[in-house]
């Protein structure tokens, strides 16, 4: 019998840092392309779609890994509200990682546009074309992306708070494999 590990499984850590990079890149790509009329708009749009689908696939893998590996426990002396905030913010992060790519896919479908990941790779539409649905989904995609950015900032602030102020091993549990 071994004591529960103080660290996330190696695959969980790999997925975390890979997706952290991808999601941060994705947020900046989205913010940049929505504000650009130059060739950058096209260039970023062509990155945004396949990267979004890659995140959708990875988050499914990640959820499987999440529920099939042990999670290091939170420090026993962590105040109750911080435990709750940690749990809720992680649920929110997973939900947004899953929902944002689906919203992107659905809104392109609702616009009646072909869902192209490259010049020839096409995904099927997941909704029939409808302007009102498109407008709703497009706005939701934008607002929820802002919410994801905000949640990522809170997550990062909390991680640094654990690492630099509390120094309780929570940040290390995702950074390193050993004590």
């Amino acid at each position: 019998m071994s004591a529960p590990s103080n660290h996330f499984a190696p695959l969980a850590r790999l997925l975390h840092w890979l997706m952290a990079l991808m999601i941060l890149a994705m947020l900046f790509i989205g913010a940049g392309m929505a504000a650009s009329v130059s060739e950058r708009h096209e260039w970023l749009l062509h990155l945004h779609k396949p990267l979004g689908i890659a995140i959708l696939l990875l988050v499914v893998v990640r959820l499987v890994v999440r529920f099939s590996t042990d999670q290091p426990p939170l420090p026993k002396d962590l105040p109750g509200w911080q435990v709750l905030a940690a749990k809720l913010s992680h649920v929110l992060l997973y939900a947004l990682m899953l929902v944002l790519p689906l919203l992107g896919w659905a809104m392109i479908s609702a616009a009646g546009d072909p869902v192209m990941l490259s010049s020839s790779l096409q995904l099927p539409a997941i909704l029939p074309a409808n302007p009102t649905t498109f407008a709703f989904l497009r706005k939701a995609h934008g607002y929820l992306a802002y919410l994801l950015f905000l949640t990522v900032l809170v997550h990062l602030a909390a991680a640094l708070f654990h690492g630099w102020i509390r120094r309780d091993g929570v940040l290390e549990s995702m950074v390193r494999g050993k004590d």
Binding site: A31, G32, A35, K139, A157
Partner: protein, 359 residues
């Protein structure tokens, strides 16, 4: 988890570390705001272009912010096979593909009289059997006034109403043209151009260059256009009234389909492929890629074209965008206009009676 409790932080060390966290967050928020154009009110964004259209034409909920007045048309494109050697796009293989199109006037005012401008436009969506689409927006002039989004925005601003008179200041437009010599070919054309009496007798030009890509990956720059196969007697002039184009179109279609030849002009070495304000002059090889056949028309308020964004960068495999900067700008601005108007579909005059029957 570490078993030992770390030594407590001194007051100043804690403040410093908290400041470190704040600095990391501030850097991210700042970078995000920069990328999103929030720190630079002068940056040309899709929203600012569309705002200027709204300022110039008034706000007309549910309508396109530019080319607001138009009608839907439908039919098919019959390929001649002539472009097949140059492009792998399915649309150029033998056979036909369905087309949803839209004739329009180039203004953001949905109530502009048909004779107010000498230009007509045609947007087309070709739907290939493999699900890929080719969308294009064409105009009846032979050349675009400007070559860059920045110059286009300057032109748009020159047409803005003067706050003191509520009307565009002709001096502002004159000053714009004087400082933009690239507008000369367009101005030359517009001098003699007259508003046509029919959409059916016009030629429509893609103006921007694209690449045809063959099976070997070879790219050939082209500009495309439609030439009408129905010609009126010379001198047919626009009748009185504000809305004769849609009526004329319905009358002609009741008598039979209308046809255009799709011509692909192959670029010669040295032809500009990134500047729609410059014409391609001299001898060119022109492919007759096939025939566009339009069979029916519908009002735009509840017709099939209403919800189509004729984004010129929705292209099938086998056709690629050129480096023309207007293409990305059109795509970006159309997307902004599309989101605004699809949010307002319920405000369209015909929407209340027919929206329920839409898919």
């Amino acid at each position: 988890m570490v078993d030992h409790t770390p030594p407590p932080l001194s007051g100043s060390s804690k403040v410093l570390r908290l400041a470190g966290i704040a600095a990391v967050l501030a850097a991210l928020v700042g970078a995000f705001a920069y990328v999103n154009g929030r720190l630079d009110p002068a940056r040309l964004t899709p929203g600012r272009i569309v705002n200027t259209f709204e300022k110039n034409n008034g706000l007309h909920p549910g309508f396109r912010r530019n080319h607001a007045k138009g009608v839907c048309v439908a039919g098919y494109f019959e390929s001649s096979d002539a472009a097949r050697a140059y492009s792998t796009a399915q649309v150029f293989r033998e056979g036909s593909v369905p087309v949803e199109g839209r004739f329009a006037l180039p203004s953001g005012n949905p109530y502009a009289p048909d004779s107010s401008v000498p230009i007509r436009s045609l947007g087309l969506r070709f739907t290939q059997a493999n699900g890929q689409q080719w969308r294009t927006g064409m105009n009846s002039m032979p050349v675009f006034p400007v070559g860059t989004p920045e110059a286009f925005f300057q032109q748009l601003k020159a047409a803005s109403p003067d706050p003191s008179t509520g009307k565009p200041n002709p001096a502002a437009m004159a000053a714009f043209f004087a400082s933009h010599p690239e507008t000369m070919p367009f101005l030359q054309w517009v001098k003699t151009a007259k508003p046509s009496a029919s959409y059916a007798t016009e030629s429509y030009n893609g103006l921007n260059a694209f690449y045809l890509v063959d099976a070997a990956g070879q790219r050939q720059a082209v500009r495309w256009g439609l030439v009408p196969l129905s010609q009126d007697a010379a001198g047919a002039t626009a009748p009185d009234g504000a809305d004769f184009l849609a009526k004329d179109l319905a009358q002609r279609l009741a008598a039979g389909p209308l046809k255009w030849q799709l011509r692909l002009t192959l670029a010669n070495p040295g032809d500009p492929t990134d500047d729609a304000s410059r014409q391609w002059t001299g001898e060119h090889k022109v492919l007759n890629a096939g025939t566009l056949v339009l069979e029916s028309t519908q009002p735009q308020d509840d017709g099939d074209c209403r919800d189509i964004n004729y984004d010129p960068l929705i292209l099938p495999s086998g056709i690629e965008a050129s480096a023309d900067p207007l293409l990305a700008a059109r795509s970006a601005a159309y997307a902004s206009s599309y989101l605004r108007r699809t949010s307002e579909v319920g405000s369209l005059p015909a929407a209340h009676s027919s929206q329920e029957s839409r898919p």
